[in-house]
């Protein structure tokens, strides 16, 4: 399937169909998601109303992790098969992924202040999440800091693959170490512990976050492909004796 999609023209045709669909699914999951998150879900018996922060915090965290895993996968495809489309995909996911990592950290902090009595602690979950944000930022800076674009792509891909070790550390940090952060209550062995009244808004918001990410990634991929086409067009015009 990867080979099939790796043809840029074919990919673009399929992406043109998926993009409006992604926006549509984003809207039809976001609106009921927000409704449930604010009007149709109970306050938590311990957290009170601050549980409503969870409906943006947890989907963001999931997407920050998923985005990074996808980028690392693209990095592998790029290093092994050298296909430029994999590089374009990884580059396109970096900004929306970083946005989610940033939102996760800030909303977590805003939740922690009233609930834990502290904005920040250097424990395993919080620190590894901060490292994820740094990996995203480092990747974005690194790929654009070479004169030759393919060098940046290669260096970036190596960084992504090295950094993937951070992902299981984030996921299992709450089991491996003592941390202030609570353990998993949705994606865990034995099924979700969380009540349906809170699971519904959470899953709707998670779906909205995912489809937003897909839509934005496809837009950014098209832009990046366009930029590359523009560059090669300008380069060939210069070589061709440039009558303009």
């Amino acid at each position: 399937m990867f080979d099939y999609l790796a043809n840029p023209a074919r990919f673009q045709r399929i992406a043109n169909v998926i993009r409006p669909l992604a926006w549509l699914i984003f809207i039809i999951t976001l609106l009921p998601g927000l409704y449930y998150a604010f009007f149709n879900s109970p306050a938590d018996y311990q957290q009170g109303e601050t549980v409503r922060i969870m409906y943006i915090h947890v989907p963001s965290a999931w997407m920050a992790l998923m985005g990074y895993v996808l980028m690392a996968l693209m990095a592998l495809f790029y290093l092994v098969w050298k296909h430029p489309l994999a590089d374009i995909a990884a580059r396109s996911m970096a900004l929306p992924g970083a946005a989610f990592a940033f939102i996760t950290l800030v909303t977590g902090s805003l939740w922690g202040a009233p609930m834990w009595g502290t904005w920040w602690v250097w424990d395993a979950r919080l620190t590894s999440m901060l490292i994820l944000l740094f990996l995203y930022i480092g990747y974005m800076v690194l790929v654009d800091s070479f004169d030759r674009e393919d060098r940046g792509s290669k260096a970036g891909a190596v960084l992504l693959l090295v950094g993937v070790i951070n992902i299981p550390i984030i996921k299992f940090s709450v089991d491996w170490w003592n941390t202030l952060h609570q353990g998993a209550s949705v994606i865990r062995v034995g099924g979700p512990l969380i009540d349906a009244s809170m699971l519904i808004p959470l899953l709707l918001m998670a779906a909205a976050a995912k489809w937003w990410f897909i839509a934005i990634t496809l837009i950014r991929m098209r832009t990046l492909m366009g930029e590359r086409r523009l560059q090669s067009r300008l380069a060939s015009r210069r070589e061709g004796g440039a009558h303009d």
Binding site: E49, I53, A113, W212, I216, T223
Partner: protein, 57 residues
């Protein structure tokens, strides 16, 4: 309504959380769309022959 906005006394934490998320996600959306449109326009421009370009400007 006021009761809703007060969020059981946690308004100062809940609204900034959501506000920041909206701001960041909207920012990424707008900048991605704008950049995309600009590149698309430049691509169309570069497809025109030099004579057409002169006529246009």
């Amino acid at each position: 309504m006021t009761e809703f906005l007060q969020m059981g006394g946690y308004a100062a934490f809940i609204w900034p959380s959501w506000g920041l998320a909206v701001l960041v996600l909207l920012g990424v959306t707008v900048s991605s769309l704008r950049h995309g449109r600009r590149i698309q326009k430049e691509l169309e421009q570069s497809e025109l022959k030099p004579e057409q370009k002169k006529e246009q400007s």
